[in-house]
């Protein structure tokens, strides 16, 4: 099985769905029944529950359409493409579309709606295509499958449970994604104009913005960032981090506080940590790191301390000669000291107070100065 890039999934266990319109090929109750049965396949093996709504916004919107239908991915007439669906998220994300140029049927004389809906709704929940021909999430429609006997394959079950856990586990089980933290008076507000960040790192295609005990988790696919307690993902990590970076070549995020650093792979803390920052080659005069960023192209990590920076070669696992150097000499336009930094789209984004500096490492210049929370579309 596979999940979508960035592993998008629903951050709640109760989801709403809405059937936006109906095909003329089937009675309405046959469509409703096919969708309900398809969702119940996934409901049986996860903590997820579904309820139907007939008006307003729903997490999963289901519609029948032909050719161009407003999402830039037109259907192709009878045959070939039967449907498509979007991974979890707001708006169109999570929605499932069915090509109404197919002949939808309850049996297998035409295209069985239940079989296709069960597959598409697997996408709506976050599963990508499986390479296992026995799996429901295999991309090719199998007209020989008996809809009455359809069961999820072991591969489908393993896939969906990798996202949501099994129905029997308690909400405290780490397999179940933590619920987002509701904002309260004591929690930082994403759109506070004076907001500053402790540390920022990418993680498997997402961006994590750390502040005190919390972090915002921003996927480039979604507008709204998730907001979580650090301890809900990584119980062994401290709060109030100084710096963080992702070594994408190792799929590890390193986080720093004081003279120690930790390593996590996904939600798993790595054994052997915390370690002293001096094992990286810093002199004893360095007591803490302000910010760190891994350069994916050069496989080097930049550590920012006060108005200077060090460069660490991840291949040789050693601090490079000739450092520290002054930040202002090699990153002109960036303020003297930085709170946090990460790399995205080939740029370095430096954060200082409520400001952010987009730095082009090839042109060696700041290309834009931004509010630091513009990633949250404030």
């Amino acid at each position: 099985f596979a999940t979508f890039p960035g592993m998008p999934k629903w951050r709640k266990t109760h989801l709403t769905y809405r059937v936006m319109n109906y095909t003329l090929d089937l009675p309405r109750d046959a469509v409703d029944s096919a969708i309900e049965k398809a969702l119940s396949l996934w409901e049986e093996v996860t903590p997820l529950t579904f309820s139907r709504t007939d008006e307003g916004e729903a997490d999963i919107k289901i519609l029948f359409a032909v050719r161009d239908h407003g999402d830039f991915i037109p259907f192709d007439g009878p045959g070939k493409v039967l449907g498509h669906a979007y991974p979890p998220g707001p708006g169109i994300y999570g929605d499932a579309h069915f090509d109404d140029d197919e002949q939808w049927t309850r049996d297998t004389s035409g295209t069985n709606l239940f079989l296709v809906a069960a597959h598409e709704l697997g996408h709506s929940l976050g599963l990508f295509h499986s390479a296992d021909p026995r799996a429901l999430m295999y991309p090719v429609y199998n007209a020989h499958t008996d809809p009455a006997r359809l069961r999820l394959s072991q591969d489908d079950v393993a896939g969906i449970q990798s996202l949501y856990g099994s129905p029997s586990v308690s909400p405290d089980d780490p397999a179940v994604p933590p619920e987002p933290v509701p904002p309260g008076p004591e929690t930082p507000a994403a759109c506070d104009p004076n907001l500053s960040f402790d540390a920022i790192s990418t993680l498997r295609g997402e961006i994590l913005f750390f502040k005190d005990r919390h972090f915002w988790r921003k996927s480039l696919r979604t507008l709204e960032p998730g907001f979580y307690l650090i301890s809900s993902f990584w119980p062994s990590l401290p709060s109030g981090l100084d710096a963080a970076y992702e070594d994408t070549s190792k799929d590890i995020v390193f986080v720093f506080k004081g003279n120690q650093f930790w390593a996590v792979k996904g939600t798993e803390a790595q054994a052997g940590y915390p370690k002293s920052i001096h094992t990286l080659g810093f002199p004893s005069t360095v007591r803490k790191i302000d910010a760190a960023v891994f350069d994916k192209e050069k496989k080097k990590t930049y550590f920012f301390v006060g108005d200077k920076y060090w460069r660490f070669d991840e291949n040789s696992q050693s601090m490079e000669q000739g450092f520290p150097r002054l930040i202002v000499d090699d990153f002109p336009g960036v303020e003297l000291k930085v709170d946090a930094v990460f790399q995205e789209f080939g740029f370095f984004y430096f954060f200082r107070g409520s400001l952010q500096f987009e730095f082009d490492p090839d042109a060696r210049m700041v290309t834009r100065t931004l509010k630091n929370n513009n990633w949250f579309y404030c």
Binding site: F4, L82, H129, A131, P133, P139, V140
Partner: protein, 82 residues
């Protein structure tokens, strides 16, 4: 110039294969499926990727099993991510 039947058939199959690989296997849009290269080129690589993913014999060639599979009804979500 009107094409003869055979050429038209070959052309339409090539276009179909190219579109299929572009849509589901991220074949670059400007790839020329007709261009023969010693190393096989991107179309052959993508055919192999498709054959491997869908559990077919991996030949890198547009054999009848591969073409049949491409004509089967399927989900519109690509098989490989960006």
């Amino acid at each position: 110039y009107p094409l003869n039947g055979a050429a038209r058939k070959e052309g339409s199959t090539t276009d179909f294969v190219q579109q299929y690989l572009e849509r589901y296997y991220n074949l670059a849009k400007d790839t020329k499926a007709f261009v023969r290269r010693r190393d096989g080129g991107p179309v052959v690589d993508k055919l192999r990727e498709m054959q491997k993913f869908l559990g077919l014999e991996v030949t890198g060639k547009l054999d009848s099993d591969t073409l049949d599979m491409m004509h089967k009804p399927r989900c519109g979500v690509p098989d490989v991510g960006d």
